[in-house]
């Protein structure tokens, strides 16, 4: 039996501090998304031997300030290219918000929210840093917005909600390409969610040690960061899930790509066949929300991969630093977690510009005929080995 967190009494200061991880997670994610768009365009360009966006600057001939207030036009380019996301955002906000004839107005408007919010909600239960003793507290608080006992279930629940975004978007826009994209997205996400669930089931088995709640993401990271049974912080990364569940790691990453609808599994968008897939008819900020949703989903998947397999916020040498000063260790753990998430996202971008798209039947065949059996094998192996 696991104790629920409701019987813990908080001081007012603690209640306030509880907001900190929430703000850090949401603020961090929403702030990083525009940079990811820039990163994607830059990495894409470099892989194709181009230079990518390097014109829109703060100062200089094409600068933002010269255009807005008319100063600094003669200066050398400052932050060249990095202002591009801002220009993109202005463009998205000022474009015509178009609704096609015959579109279902309510669903058409609601769909982008379903695409953007669920991946963001997953961040509620993801521990983003090591426990820290903040001013006004007498014990360390895990840096997580909501320390749910069933964090994994929460993540899966909101992850499957995002399938509604693409399905509804495709259906409501009264467009055959949109509908095809939406249908493909739904089929793909549901298929790959099966394999994902089985992989996560074996993870839950792996992390359900005595004294640990295998369904809680906080406990998962605790096991990777501390020697189980003691509160001794680890220095080496040998507790990380990737060393205990390597097969699950590979399967999870493949499924994560499919869940994010990223290449080589970007069937729902599939520019060559479906124009833009489910967001063909979307413009302005409604498209912007789909776009943001895609990048937030990438970040969420990166966070989950880090939490499940890469030690969450744990980093080599954590033991020493936390022995010296727990709060400094917590601060570094935030950086470590951010780097892991960003690393995963960069990997996803890198793969996108490397691999071609799979055919639809190949995609489904791989999901059902390869990934699910291998995931089941991994589940059985985990069950046998952890007895």
């Amino acid at each position: 039996m696991y104790t629920l967190a409701v019987d813990v009494t908080y001081t007012p200061a603690e209640y306030l501090w509880k907001l900190l991880p929430l703000l850090m997670a949401f603020g961090g994610v929403l702030g990083v998304v525009p940079l990811l768009v820039y990163l994607e365009r830059k990495i894409c360009a470099f892989i194709q031997d181009r230079v990518g966006p390097n014109r829109v600057a703060l100062l200089g001939p094409d600068g933002l300030l010269p255009v807005l207030i008319g100063v600094g036009g003669k200066a050398p380019r400052l932050l060249a290219g990095l202002i591009q996301p801002l220009a993109d955002a202005v463009k998205l906000f000022t474009k015509e918000d178009f609704m096609p004839v015959g579109a279902d107005k309510f669903l058409f408007t609601v769909a982008p929210f379903f695409a953007m919010l669920p991946p963001l909600l997953a961040w509620l239960v993801i521990p983003i840093g090591a426990p820290a003793t903040l001013p006004g507290m007498d014990h360390p608080m895990p840096l997580v917005a909501a320390n749910l006992d069933v964090g994994v279930l929460w993540v899966l629940a909101v992850a499957s909600l995002s399938a509604y975004g693409v399905a509804l978007g495709g259906w409501a826009s009264n467009n055959k390409f949109g509908l095809l994209g939406g249908v493909r997205a739904t089929a793909q996400m549901i298929s790959y969610e099966v394999a994902l669930l089985i992989v996560i089931a074996s993870l839950i088995m792996h992390y359900s040690e005595p004294g640990y709640n295998g369904l809680s993401l906080v406990d998962m990271v605790r096991q990777q960061a501390y020697v189980p049974g003691t509160e001794m912080a680890r220095n080496a990364p040998w507790g990380w899930g990737i060393f205990h569940q390597p097969l699950a790691f590979v399967l999870f990453v493949i499924c994560a790509f499919a869940e994010n609808n990223r290449l080589p599994f970007d069937m729902p968008e599939c520019e060559a066949e479906l124009v833009g897939g489910y967001h063909t008819e979307y413009s302005s900020m409604k498209f912007g929300m789909f776009f943001q949703g895609e990048y937030i989903a990438m970040l969420s998947m990166g966070a989950l991969t880090a939490t499940f397999f890469l030690g969450g916020w744990h980093y080599p040498g954590f033991g020493w630093v936390s022995h010296w000063n727990a709060n400094v260790a917590a601060l570094l753990s935030l950086v470590a977690f951010g780097l892991k998430v960003l690393g995963f996202v960069v990997f996803e971008i890198w793969v996108r510009w490397t691999l071609p798209r799979l055919r639809y039947d190949q995609l489904m065949g791989m999901g059902w005929k390869i990934l699910i059996p291998v995931a089941l094998l991994n589940l059985v192996l985990t069950a046998v080995l952890s007895v």
């Binding site: 470099f46 892989i47 890198w350 490397t354």
Partner: protein, 204 residues
């Protein structure tokens, strides 16, 4: 007689394997993952490759290949009108270019030459090319019997207004001057038309 057609392929160069011929996959290749990482390695090489195809174009130095694109010889860009040795426009207002133009963008008005132009009787009073209609086919250059009009390699042709893209006689002559191509022995014809001097071949 046999109905079957046997296609004969020329022998492949040494070391080249047809992708279709390589149907046998080893089990390692069937796993895909090692091959995917090979591909990732390949793209990573490009990711860190400092030699990009992109030119840092600033449009200021059109002779510098690091700052501008240098077109091949025979590239058909902006038009210019040539001058004869006396410095007059070479054109004799014969309307051949206007007749040859498929886009009908050349408008000429003829006038009798002033008394001191001894070599011909007609010259253009008005010579306008509407570059917004022009398709840069070079037919005017081909049609010209006196080699007066030619297409330069100037490709950065932008302006703020539509009116500015209708070039008149003076502007067309100035285009040639700016390029240093105004003298009559400069041209881009290599088809052996009388009077044409084959221009030297490119160096790039």
């Amino acid at each position: 007689m046999s109905d079957t057609i046997v296609e004969e392929h020329p022998p492949l160069p040494k070391g080249v394997v047809l992708a279709a011929g390589n149907t046998e996959q080893t089990w390692l290749e069937k796993l895909y993952l090692p091959e995917i990482f090979k591909g990732l390695g390949n793209t990573f090489k490009h990711l860190v490759n400092p030699n990009k195809f992109t030119i840092d174009y600033d449009g200021t130095d059109l002779k510098n290949p690091k700052k501008a694109h240098i077109p091949r010889d025979g590239y058909r860009g902006e038009h210019y009108l040539k001058k004869d040795d006396a410095g007059h426009v070479k054109c004799v207002a014969c309307f051949m270019c206007a007749a040859a133009c498929p886009a009908e963008c050349i408008h000429i008005e003829a006038m009798p030459t002033p008394a001191d132009w001894k070599d011909r009787e007609r010259a253009p009073k008005r010579f306008e090319i509407d570059l917004l209609r022009c398709i840069y086919c070079g037919m005017c250059e081909e049609a010209c019997p006196v080699d007066a009009i030619a297409l330069s390699s100037t490709y950065n042709v932008v302006s703020d207004t539509r009116e500015a893209k209708v070039y008149d006689r003076e502007h067309l002559m100035k285009c040639g001057e700016e390029l240093g191509l105004a003298l009559s022995h400069h041209h881009y014809r290599a088809d052996g038309v009388p009077g044409a001097v084959p221009h030297k071949t490119g160096h790039h």
